[in-house]
Each structure stands twice: as structure tokens, then as C-alpha cells.
């Protein structure tokens, strides 16, 4: 697993208060991990902070799963 994936998963565990093993790559923040729309906004902010990148609103709207987040960040930081 990449470093980015580890860090993304850690943030998700901390912010959503979920068990680590539930945070699989295909897990949906809202459907599988109990987030609401405000939680997802905050998650995106946490990703921006952790990775020092900016995630525009239209891109943020498409980040629905753990994998979406990892992919976006890896591309942005490439």
C-alpha cells in the first residue's frame, strides 16, 4: 500500500471515528462509513491540510470513496 493510501486511511479513521478495517479502498464515505455531507467537506479539508494540495469544489464532489481520494491526491502530487 502506498504512503498516500496509509495517510488517507488514517485521516478517515480519525475524522469519522470508524474502525480501521472498515476503511477499505472501495468504502464509500457516506454509504459505508456513516459520514454526512458536512463530514465529507471536513474530510476534504483534512486531506488538503495533510497533503498541502488544493481540492477544488467540483473535484471534491467526485471524491466519494477512499480510492477516489487516494487517486486524486496521487495525481495532484505527481
Amino acid at each position: 500500500m502506498s504512503d498516500v493510501a496509509d495517510r488517507v486511511k488514517k485521516i478517515v479513521v480519525e475524522h469519522l471515528g470508524v474502525e480501521e478495517d472498515k476503511v477499505t479502498e472501495n468504502a464509500s464515505f457516506i454509504d459505508d462509513l456513516g459520514a454526512d455531507s458536512l463530514d465529507t467537506v471536513e474530510l476534504v479539508m483534512a486531506f488538503e491540510e495533510e497533503f498541502g494540495c488544493e481540492i477544488p469544489d467540483d473535484a471534491a464532489e467526485k471524491i466519494l470513496t477512499v480510492k477516489d481520494a487516494i487517486d486524486f491526491i496521487e495525481k495532484a502530487n505527481a
Binding site: L16, M45, E49
Partner: protein, 419 residues
């Protein structure tokens, strides 16, 4: 009119977490006022406050017992305290509505004087430094005053009236009075009512210090700083916490065999129409609030055994309130006991009226009146009055009146009676 009784109590105060734990410490003449060490007060003249004791164990407050860590970031401390006091009051009352009908008949009215000042201050820092994108999506709901009522309703499934009072230091009393009227009018059968406050932060301390309202002469001896009616008083001491009561329609409470602490028999309100922070010098606002409450209760002044005073330990306010009590009660004033529990807790602003309502019903329930700490050298105007100096006193209390007065010249008095 439908009768309203108190069937549950909860309190998170500088003395303890828990209504009974707080009450026992209050009766033992303990103080919850200490030095502020969790933020810098070097540039603020008032350096002490009534702070909720944190930790694990009897009487200590552990937020995680009431709110998950994940949810903690969605609420400022006043909401956490309010949820905790509501949890305690509901557990004490044994009321756990599960059917749609019961949930819809149960409402919440928990107010706050100031709301989420610490979070507002943090967000302002971010914005002022150009970090607007760092402002949390939970910022607004973490500081809105009505979010105590909102969060409590969500946690316990209470689908009746959801409301919140904001009347500065009268908030807690107004919330309990207004909620009792909602039950009287049939809008609800049960209401969780009270107040919550957590404004002991740099901006809150600086603000009240600037309005010259806070005690500054006792920074080295914090437990002696709140001294209502004492000649050495020099201002109030900030406090934090929350108080809640479960109010219930009398027949509803009786039908389920609920424990009844006391009945809410009277509620009176008034406005000073005088000044934004100072009380009217003749005490007319407080006088009319008390008079209206007694009239609403159908209680004569000589029937009142105990007055829980607003008594914040300010040079002006204490004697103005005392004067109003003397005028209203006449000869009966010398027969009642009157104390200010702010001497032990500090001034919890929007939560003050709520914890003081809890103390008033416990005075009735237990037949004891709580003390006014530090009242060693009473002002001359106190002559002939029993202000319960230094130590609690056993006495039968059938009727208790609790006063709360707020900035803006807003006044509320509640009258409770044994059932």
C-alpha cells in the same frame, strides 16, 4: 391550567458533574472557583473562574461519557455541558420516550447566554489570517445557541417543541418558565429545560473585564472572590457549566409513578427599560418579576421560605435585589432565608438560572437551604435578613423563589412548591 412538576434534575457545575454531587459540595460550603491555568490571562485583570472539574471518577466531568470523540468537534463546550446535564436529568426522571406519541409529546428548551464564543474566536483567527478555506463545516452548528436543544433532541429522539432562550443571565430561568408554560398550554407533556454556558475563554474574560463586571481583588484567593452582600465584594466571577430539569405535566408524572421533586407554581417576567448592563437603581424590574411570579403562583409573600437570589457579588446589584425583596415581602422578609449560591459556583451566566432552579427544588425536597459563602461582613442594608452566611441551614422549605436578572434589563423569577 395543567400543573407542571419537576421529575428529573441534572447539573454540570464548577463544584461537580451531577446534580446530587454538586448539591452535597454546596451544602458542605465548598467552592468551585480557581485560578485559570488553561489559557493566558496575564493581560486580563480577572484571573479566576468557576471551572468544571474534569477527569474520571465520582463527581468529575468526562465529556466522552456523553458525546463521542467524533462528534466533539461538531460542538463547542457549552453544547457538551448541555447534553450532559440533559442526559443526567432524563436518566434521573426515568423518562425514555420510545413510541412516536411519547417522543412527539417531549420537547427541549435549553438556552445559553452567549453560545460558542471559543469557536467563534478560533474561526475569526483563521479568517483574519486569510485561511477562510480552513473554517470547519461544523463551525456554525458548533456555536449556535439552539444547537443544545437540537443535539439533545437528536440524541434522545425528542420530537416535541424544540426551542432555545437567549436572555443573557436570565436564560436558564426563562427557559424553565417558558417550557413549563408550553406544558400548561398542551404543546408538550414533558420538556427538558435549562441553560448551558462555556464562555470562560480569553475573549469572554476580556469582554466581561472590559465592562468592569468581574472581581479582580481576589486573584490570589479565588475561593473568596464571590462574596454576595459582603462589604468586600468587587464583582462577579465567571463560571461555566449547565443545568437541566425534566418538567412534566402532573398527571403524566403521577401515572408513570415518577419521583416528583417539586411543582413549578409560578413564573414572572419583567423588563427594566433602564440600561444595557446596570439594573434599575430602585430594583423595580426585579420587584415586578418576583411580584408577577407570586401572583401567577397564587402564593402570598409570607408563604415563601427560601429565595435563591440572583446575587452575583457586584457592588450595585446585590443591594438593589435585597431592597426589592424587602419592599415586596415587607415584614415577611425577615422570616425567609435568602442565599446566593453564586458564592460557590461563580456566575454561570445563561446556565445560572437553571442550576439555581435545581438548588431551589432540592432545598424543598431535602429541607435545607444552601449557604452564601464568604459573607463575613454584610453590608449595612442586610440587617435583619437571614442570608444564610457561610453554612447551610436545615429548615423546612415549602415554597422557594429563584431570581435571575440579565444584561438588557431582563428579569425572571420562578416559584417552586413542594407537592
Amino acid at each position: 391550567m395543567r400543573r407542571v412538576v419537576v421529575t428529573g434534575i441534572g447539573a454540570v457545575t464548577p463544584l461537580a458533574s451531577g446534580a446530587q454531587a454538586t448539591w452535597q459540595k454546596l451544602l458542605a460550603s465548598q467552592s468551585g472557583i480557581k485560578s485559570i491555568e488553561h489559557f493566558d490571562v496575564s493581560d486580563i485583570p480577572a484571573k479566576i473562574a468557576g471551572l468544571v472539574p474534569k477527569g474520571d471518577g465520582e463527581g468529575l466531568f468526562n465529556a466522552e461519557n456523553h458525546v463521542s470523540i467524533k462528534d466533539m468537534k461538531k460542538m463547542d463546550d457549552f453544547i457538551v455541558y448541555g447534553i450532559a446535564a440533559a442526559d443526567q436529568a432524563l436518566a434521573d426522571s426515568g423518562w425514555k420516550p420510545e413510541t412516536d406519541e411519547d417522543q412527539e409529546a417531549t420537547g427541549v428548551m435549553i438556552g445559553s447566554g452567549i453560545g460558542g464564543l471559543p469557536r467563534i474566536s478560533e474561526a475569526a483567527e483563521l479568517v483574519n489570517h486569510g485561511n477562510t478555506r480552513r473554517v470547519s463545516p461544523f463551525f456554525i452548528p458548533s456555536c449556535l445557541i439552539n444547537l443544545v436543544s437540537g443535539q439533545v433532541s437528536i440524541k434522545h429522539g425528542l420530537k416535541g417543541p424544540n426551542h432555545a432562550v437567549v436572555t443573557a443571565c436570565s436564560t436558564g430561568a426563562h427557559a424553565i418558565g417558558d417550557a413549563s408554560r408550553l406544558i400548561s398550554f398542551g404543546d408538550a407533556d414533558v420538556m427538558v429545560a435549562g441553560g448551558a454556558e462555556a464562555a470562560v475563554c480569553r475573549i469572554g474574560m476580556a469582554g466581561f473585564a472590559a465592562s468592569r463586571a468581574l472581581s479582580t481583588a481576589y486573584n490570589d484567593t479565588p475561593t473568596e472572590a464571590s462574596r454576595p452582600w459582603d462589604k468586600g465584594r468587587d464583582g462577579f466571577v465567571m463560571g461555566e457549566g449547565a443545568g437541566c430539569v425534566v418538567l412534566e405535566e402532573y398527571e403524566h408524572a403521577k401515572a408513570r409513578g415518577a419521583k416528583i421533586y417539586a411543582e413549578v407554581v409560578g413564573y414572572g417576567m419583567s423588563g427594566d427599560a433602564h440600561h444595557i448592563t446596570a439594573p434599575a437603581p430602585d430594583g423595580n424590574g426585579g420587584f415586578r418579576a418576583m411580584r408577577n411570579a407570586l401572583r401567577n403562583a397564587g402564593v402570598n409573600p409570607e408563604e415563601v421560605d427560601y429565595v435563591n437570589a440572583h446575587g452575583t457579588s457586584t457592588p450595585l446589584g446585590d443591594e438593589i435585589e435585597l431592597g426589592a425583596v424587602k419592599r415586596l415581602f415587607g415584614d415577611a422578609a425577615t422570616k425567609l432565608s435568602m442565599s446566593s449560591t453564586k458564592s460557590a459556583t461563580g456566575h454561570l451566566l445563561g446556565a445560572a438560572g437553571a442550576i439555581e432552579a435545581v438548588f431551589s427544588v432540592l432545598a424543598i425536597h431535602d429541607g435545607v437551604v444552601p449557604p452564601t459563602l464568604n459573607l463575613r461582613d454584610p453590608s449595612d442594608a442586610c440587617h435583619g435578613m437571614d442570608l444564610v452566611p457561610l453554612e447551610a441551614k436545615k429548615r423546612k422549605v415549602n415554597v422557594a423563589l429563584s431570581n435571575s436578572f440579565g444584561f438588557g434589563g431582563t428579569n425572571a423569577s420562578l416559584v417552586f412548591k413542594g407537592v
